[in-house]
């Protein structure tokens, strides 16, 4: 089906000042369009966890947020350094976040599992050149 609209957001590494701004922007747009609360909640979680992972774990990246008539796709991509063991990273509670990050309240190791749970379709690939996540939410 046809793509109705695409938004692109750049995210810098270690940018804690703006942390959450992108997902909050995405949420705002979804509310304006009038998506149901359940959909908004799921996408808010996916984009927030994706945004935070880029800020905390990567060299920077971007989120493409695409609206189709029957689905929404979030593409969360970064420039590296990649995840060594994707299967391990996907396990609940697994985190390599250092103590200073944990002190900020992150590093529960729940981000990727949450993204997976909130998606109808989830795909992750990772190499040293970057991590790519594609998350699809079906409408209806």
């Amino acid at each position: 089906m046809k793509k109705i609209k695409c938004y692109n957001y750049k995210i810098d590494k270690n940018d804690f000042v703006n942390a959450g701004k992108v997902s909050s922007e995405i949420k705002k747009n979804l509310k304006k369009i009038g998506f149901t609360n359940r959909i908004i909640r799921r996408i808010a979680v996916i984009s927030y966890e994706g945004e935070m992972n880029i800020i905390i774990h990567s060299e920077g990246g971007e989120i493409d947020f695409e609206i189709y008539e029957d689905k929404i796709i979030l593409k969360i991509n970064d420039k590296g350094p990649g995840i060594d063991d994707v299967n391990l990273a996907m396990t609940e509670g697994y985190s390599t976040a250092p103590s200073e990050i944990r002190e900020l309240g992150f590093g529960a190791g729940m981000g990727l599992p949450n993204i997976n749970n909130c998606s109808d379709n989830f795909n992750i690939t990772s190499s040293k050149n970057g991590t790519k996540i594609e998350s699809t939410i079906c409408l209806e």
Partner: protein, 413 residues
């Protein structure tokens, strides 16, 4: 009724103060006067508070309405106890109300203690959807309905203390005078804010309120001060220490004594925290107390005393209450009241989920975006809309035109 205050047009100077403060962008200035969109108004009272010309007038019942009933009950909001000079005893305050013609005073704090119990049980037993959000401030329930409908289900469906107090007071009245019928009894709530007044006139989550009349605290304050000087005799009840805390920010969470609870007061702060919850953060928090007014209900628009002074007055009472205080026997009947459904309200039912027409909505957003790009982005308010974005939306909806932008007009010249 959707609003418990109105604008006196002659007094309004169109200064934009209220428009800028309104948390739901419900106010516009049209032809030099403020106009409120009732569908967006949450009755928080910010506009009343900030208006430099006192152009907003509250709708209130009056002492004279006591004549409509055979037996009149006063339920003063717990904030009332913080409004008089430090050390003013609660029974004196009750006696002042008796002096004004009430037959009986029921202390809201006892109801708040019962509600505290109900909230504790609910939060402990229902572990899905965290945090549970307090439903006590009606302005906040309306804010969530209008701006954060996704969080409606987090709101705890438990009746507010003022309503429980009304039902218990009616019971007591019928015990005092067995001949009384429902229509003989007038229950008057003394309200700290327009939101609580509206919660009686237009209840959320139930068919009707058990309160008949609402007198704003401002309306009755002068009379009470006068009466206070004259009475010292009979004593009706002392407050519940747990319940009295509800009048100040942090009081509910303190009363419930949960680990992992947060108390937030003041509109801007509440909005910040609701945004975070919407992002799926704070799911480890059990209970969230949100109150529209800075400092909690002692900060309500109809209070007389400065909220910080009132807070200190309340704390003084909490510290100095005598041990031999009267115990209210209603507290022991908690289980009975619960069984009878006293605490039940249905807020979640109001959740409407409409399927959006995505294409149309996106097109509309793009039209707004296009208009917005042309605007100066100063959010000066001179056009009569609170922000440039709000003006862009108004223009798209045909309510205003780009000519309303004063800055663009100046640039043209």
């Amino acid at each position: 009724m959707k609003r418990t205050f109105y604008l006196e047009k002659e007094k309004c100077m169109g200064c934009t103060n209220c428009m800028r403060k309104c948390p739901t962008e419900a106010i516009r200035i049209v032809k030099g006067k403020a106009v409120i969109d009732d569908d967006k108004c949450i009755n928080c009272g910010e506009c009343i508070r900030v208006c430099p010309y006192n152009a907003y007038t509250s709708i209130t019942d009056k002492i004279i309405d006591l004549k409509d009933y055979k037996f009149n009950i006063a339920i003063p909001s717990t904030t009332v106890y913080g409004q008089f000079t430090l050390g003013t005893e609660i029974c004196k305050i009750h006696n002042a109300l008796i002096g004004l013609g009430f037959d009986y005073v029921y202390d809201e704090s006892w109801a708040a203690e019962l509600v505290t119990k109900a909230i504790k049980e609910k939060v402990i037993s229902d572990k899905i959807l965290r945090p549970k959000i307090s439903s006590n401030c009606p302005a906040m329930v309306r804010l969530i309905k209008i701006k954060y409908p996704g969080l409606l289900e987090n709101i705890i469906e438990i009746e507010a203390p003022m309503e429980i107090a009304a039902r218990l007071a009616i019971k007591k009245a019928k015990k005092i005078d067995k001949t009384l019928k429902d229509e003989d009894i007038g229950v008057f709530y003394i309200s700290p804010c327009p939101a609580k007044t509206l919660s009686v006139k237009e209840p959320i989550g139930k068919d009707k309120s058990y309160i008949n009349k609402v007198i704003s605290l401002k309306e009755i304050y002068g009379d009470m001060v006068r009466e206070l000087k004259m009475h010292s005799d009979r004593c009706f009840s002392n407050p519940s220490l747990t319940g009295l805390k509800w009048s100040i920010s942090g009081g509910q969470t303190d009363a419930c004594d949960f680990e992992n609870s947060i108390a937030v007061s003041g509109l801007e702060n509440v909005i910040d925290i609701l945004e975070e919850i919407e992002m799926g953060k704070l799911e480890h928090i059990k209970y969230l107390e949100i109150l529209s007014c800075n400092g909690g209900c002692v900060g309500g628009t109809y209070n007389f005393e400065n909220p910080f002074v009132a807070n200190s007055n309340i704390k003084h009472i909490l510290k100095n209450i005598k041990e031999e205080r009267l115990i209210n026997d209603d507290i022991e009947k908690y289980k009975e009241f619960k069984k009878e459904g006293y605490f039940d309200i249905a807020i979640h039912e109001d959740i409407e989920e409409k399927k959006p027409n995505i294409k149309e909505a996106v097109e509309k957003m793009e039209r707004i975006e296009k208009i917005y790009k042309k605007l100066p982005k100063l959010d000066c308010g001179s056009c009569g809309a609170p922000t440039c974005r709000a003006l862009a939306e108004d223009i798209e909806e045909g309510k205003k035109t780009i000519d309303n932008c004063v800055i663009l007009k100046l640039e043209e010249k």
